[in-house]
């Protein structure tokens, strides 16, 4: 048998195998989507949850994402339970930011929250390990071992974290918050673990703005991955090479 014949037969084999794989893959995908992760199952590194924000569709003055986050996670807003804290002391899990180009005057608007970095500075500096990253890329604070040193707040390049300055009442059970500890966007982990979408993304889409996308960055077939591949996106403070889970288009 010549080398050429061998190569041809190998190619034929690989082609058939790939075709068979494609036949199987949709089934596998359906299985994965239909099955919510059981509570006892740990988060998997096969996922990397992320967000994509299209700033061209994000309207100045619109704060639907912020309101949705407040309602979902029980912070800020008209019924804020931080009654004593000054505005500078109140928590912000997500905020709308207005950018004006110093030279051209061009104005942009975007939501800013925890960027869920692959290499988060907040996790690096936390002395107790309270600041942590799940296997699926979501960066969280373990409120049980946070000592309230605020070093993570010094280290975060995005000012994404807030310290709780007072006793809080009327909390939402799935989004616990505590006086003297630090908190930030959880990417609505309570929803993601049940195959849901973060409240901000859901609100942005249900209002028809379609400026925010959520999905698995590790899954090439996900909507977010396809969009990232086709249109590209930018990280805020890309110079730090943190490989953020939240990406922006149009900045």
């Amino acid at each position: 048998m010549s080398h050429q014949e061998t190569d041809i037969s190998r190619r034929q084999f690989l082609g058939k195998a790939a075709a068979a794989g494609l036949m199987i893959a949709p089934g596998v995908m359906l299985y994965k989507v239909a099955q919510a992760r059981a509570p006892e199952m740990p988060a998997s590194s096969s996922n990397r949850w992320g967000m994509l924000i299209d700033t061209s569709k994000c309207a100045t003055g619109c704060s639907d994402c912020v309101t949705a986050c407040q309602t979902e996670n029980g912070w800020g807003g008209e019924n804020s339970n931080e009654v004593h804290s000054a505005p500078t002391q109140q928590a912000h899990w997500i905020r709308k930011v207005k950018l004006t180009d110093k030279q051209t005057g061009h104005v942009q608007s975007l939501p800013l929250m925890c960027q869920h970095c692959e290499n988060p500075p907040c996790v690096d500096v936390c002395p107790t390990g309270a600041s942590m990253k799940r296997a699926d890329g979501i960066v969280l604070v373990d409120k049980h071992i946070c000592i309230g040193c605020r070093y993570c707040m010094m280290a975060c390049p995005y000012k994404a974290r807030s310290f709780i300055h007072e006793e809080l009442h009327n909390q939402i059970p799935y989004a616990p918050r505590g006086k003297g500890t630090v908190e930030s966007c959880t990417m609505c982990v309570q929803r993601v673990d049940n195959n849901g979408t973060p409240a901000c993304v859901e609100a942005c889409n249900s209002e028809g703005h379609k400026a925010m996308y959520f999905g698995d960055l590790n899954d090439p077939s996900s909507d977010i991955s396809k969009r990232l591949k086709e249109y590209g996106a930018t990280e805020i403070r890309a110079d730090l090479e943190l490989n953020t889970g939240v990406r922006y288009q149009g900045i």
Partner: protein, 402 residues
Amino acid sequence: MKTLTYKMIDGNSSGYLALLAILGLFVLAGATAFFYMEHNGHWVTGMSNQVVWGIPHVFAVFLIVSASGALNVASISSVFNRKIYKPLAPLSAVLALTLLLGGLTILVLDLGRPDRLIVAMTKYNFKSIFAWNMILYNGFLAIVGVYVWFMLERKMNKFSRYAGFAAFFWRLILTTGTGAIFGFLVARDAYDVAIMAPMFIIMSFAYGLAIFNIVTIAIYSWTDRQLGDVIFERLRTLLGVFIGAVFYFVTVYHLTKLYATKHHGVENFILVDGGIYTTLFWLGQVIIGLLIPAILVFHPAFAKSRKALVSASVLVIAGGLSQMYVTIIGGQAYPLEMFPGKIIESSFFDGGIKAYTPSLPELALGLGGFALSLLMIALAIKVLRLIPDNLSDAEIDPHHKA
């Protein structure tokens, strides 16, 4: 050198008791402030989600850095074998311990959850400089504690040099760690520069020695013991050298920042139009903390003046606190540069200079920690034989001619 007699102070004069009472009141005020802040939460302070570390950290980091520097005299005697410093080595080491304890007390009591100190002691993230520092601080207390024991216990004296070596290297690492708390912060323009670690070491030399000078001269003057010109001259010159070294490092730090265009914003803020931070830098850190003390130390007119050295030391401390305020709070007041070339505005106060006004409880906590350090050293000299009875030139200088 003759055999020196180490004696405890009598500690029953009305002046001594008044000193204890005043320091005790400050400690009490600090403790009250802690309970007030802990009960209510940090909303009663000037700290916020914009400026997260306030005046308690200024005092805490100052004391921790000074602790390392207070060990200078002991280190010079043990490591560099300069016998003339040896009589004051035990006081130097115990002062280092009390300053560190005072600083750590502030740091712990300002935590959001000080009740979780045990968590901080049992769960370590070894990539965190804070976690390293917890090990470094505890190690410093242990090593310097053993060092003091070896110096005070006659049978162990022969080992004190080795403990002195260990303490010397440990304190260099400790202050490197303290400087790295800021130097390794990549997010903020005022930090993120490796020179902060050696700069903190040099600053520790000056601040620690300044406190040591005041404590030593006060003890010898208030207890009518003799402190000769030979020792005095050494302490004076040493402070002068350290002031010069701090000046050099501060200059290089700012030149490094000024060279890179991206840091011009923060440098302009600190050096030109930063309001209180600019004032504290030029007036507090440079003029009061470096230039005037340098004149007091080096000008021949003040060469024999104890008051001039005490004044210079007080000014170095004032300059040190100003420096910590500029470094810690000024560094946070300047906004994060997330979008170069853009003006950034938001409901979370992005973009603007962050306001911070220290509240009374915070100030009380900081001063209370400082007072606690001094109270501990005041009590230590009453219960331990730390200070030679007589350090006149005739006692310590073999070449002395009356």
